[in-house]
């Protein structure tokens, strides 16, 4: 059967990673549009929260110790920081320039990366944030209000129909719906099958196709998933390079070079410019930065 714990663990071994149980460390990101980083850190430390700087993202901290929920402090409610897993802080940081740009956050809810983008843009330019599920948009808009984001327009729209907006974007973040990973989902092994993974991969290809249509000629597209499955990641990027006239830029960030040989199938060499993050200090993750070729 193409599912279950042993099936997936064996796959990871074939990809070069030995399974180990990982407990994710909670992380935050300081919203520097609302306060100075050092001031926020001092305030949290004075509450007895022990922080550890995340070395590979700006303004990110792991929570080493907190005697209460970090989602219920005055500082959180004032939007001075967001709770955002460490690896999830990487995709928005990969764009070369964001200030003043027109940015699409294609699958935006619950909004952690949208707020991060607004923060990196210093509330300049504009973000168009989409999500298909209206109930998830409420969480997104609460997040925007709490963090004093001013440069975002939110639509309830399937990103596969984003060309309806009749806009060309300088930067697109496609944090695609994916198969997820076992670190953040205790029952992941019990509920995932390879058929689910393949179905998600098809959806991601549809999204990538639409994103390519609305990306400006010199624009940047960052693709990310929190999946360890190559169908969601390397295999889709290989397909995008071969079918969508995209090229992969080097993602200069935390993580291992992505795999160019998947279960004996040789992929295009550009794939190694992507980053695959096996669970260790973070959850599993994958990032890729693309531009239009030629």
């Amino acid at each position: 059967m193409m599912s279950g714990r042993e099936f997936f663990i064996k796959r990871y071994e074939e990809l070069g990673w030995k399974y180990e149980s990982v407990k994710p460390t909670q992380a935050i990101r300081v919203n520097t549009i609302n306060a100075k980083e050092t001031a926020v850190v001092n305030r949290l430390e004075s509450l007895g929260i022990k922080l550890d700087k995340i070395p590979f993202v700006e303004g990110g901290y792991w929570i080493q110790e907190a005697k209460f929920s970090i989602g219920a402090t005055t500082e959180y409610l004032l939007g001075l920081y967001s709770i955002q897993e460490a690896a999830a802080q990487i995709p928005a940081s990969l764009f070369s320039k964001l200030k003043g740009k027109l940015v699409l956050d294609a699958c935006a809810a619950p909004g952690g990366k949208t707020v991060q983008l607004a923060n990196l843009m210093r509330n300049t330019g504009a973000i168009i944030a989409l999500d298909i599920k209206r109930n998830r948009l409420t969480a997104l808009t609460n997040h925007l209000e709490r963090c004093s984001v001013k440069n975002t327009i939110v639509y309830c729209l399937d990103a596969r129909q984003a060309s309806q907006l009749q806009l060309k974007f300088d930067c697109i973040l496609l944090d695609a719906p994916c198969s997820g990973n076992f670190v953040t989902d205790k029952v992941w092994f019990n509920r995932r099958t390879i058929e689910d993974v393949k179905r998600n991969a098809m959806l991601q290809r549809e999204l990538l196709t639409e994103m390519t249509k609305i990306l400006s000629d010199d624009g940047e597209l960052v693709y990310s998933t929190c999946s360890l499955e190559p169908e969601d990641n390397e295999l889709n990027m290989d397909w995008a390079v071969k079918n969508l006239n995209l090229q992969i830029e080097n993602a200069n960030c935390y993580g291992e070079r992505a795999l160019t040989n998947i279960f004996g199938k040789k992929l295009c060499s550009q794939i190694e410019n992507c980053r695959r993050i096996w669970p260790e200090k973070t959850q599993g993750f994958f990032v890729c930065k693309l531009k239009k070729a030629g």
Binding site: A126, T138, T152, I153, V154
Partner: protein, 157 residues
């Protein structure tokens, strides 16, 4: 459209200047856009720019963005100590002993913003009795506090 917001601000003895052409109404909600967003927006948006508040049954309910804007101008404000600030965020009223500083009105029935010792706006309430009187009674009744974000989350998910 702006009269509603101006009237709300006036309950804090505050005046805020919003340019009507940048204020957009969608259903019962009001949003403040900037030039960039105004050029891009289409009519079926869900949320845009700075959310200002909403009306329900003829009453105006402000957003925290709007309260922050009012807090930046001359308005009724009280600063409270750390304990009172925390209790306020938890939905409690302000007792006289928790008040550190009063700016503006002392009049019963007026609205006042509640600030912490960092000068950050935690919400607003209605003055119940003279803020400098004797005794330790409820002086400001909590109407809206930032703990609302947590209450909303529990009703969203």
């Amino acid at each position: 459209m702006l009269k509603l917001i101006a009237d709300f601000a006036s309950r804090y003895n505050a005046r805020i200047n919003l340019d009507e052409k940048f204020v957009l109404k969608k259903d019962n909600k009001y949003f403040l856009l900037n030039n960039e967003l105004k050029k891009l927006i289409s009519k079926d948006f869900f949320y845009a720019g700075e959310y200002l508040g909403k009306t329900r049954k003829g009453r105006f309910f402000p957003s925290f963005n709007l309260l922050r804007m009012i807090a930046q101008v001359e308005a009724n404000k009280i600063s409270v100590n750390e304990k009172a600030a925390w209790l306020f965020i938890c939905g409690r009223d302000i007792f006289r002993q928790g008040i550190v500083k009063v700016v503006g009105s002392n009049e019963k029935g007026d609205y006042t913003l509640i600030l912490n010792h960092h000068g950050e706006c935690l919400g607003f309430g209605m003055i119940q009795r003279h803020l400098y009187g004797k005794g330790n009674e409820v002086s400001v009744r909590n109407i809206l506090d930032i703990g609302d974000f947590l209450r909303r989350e529990s009703s969203t998910y």
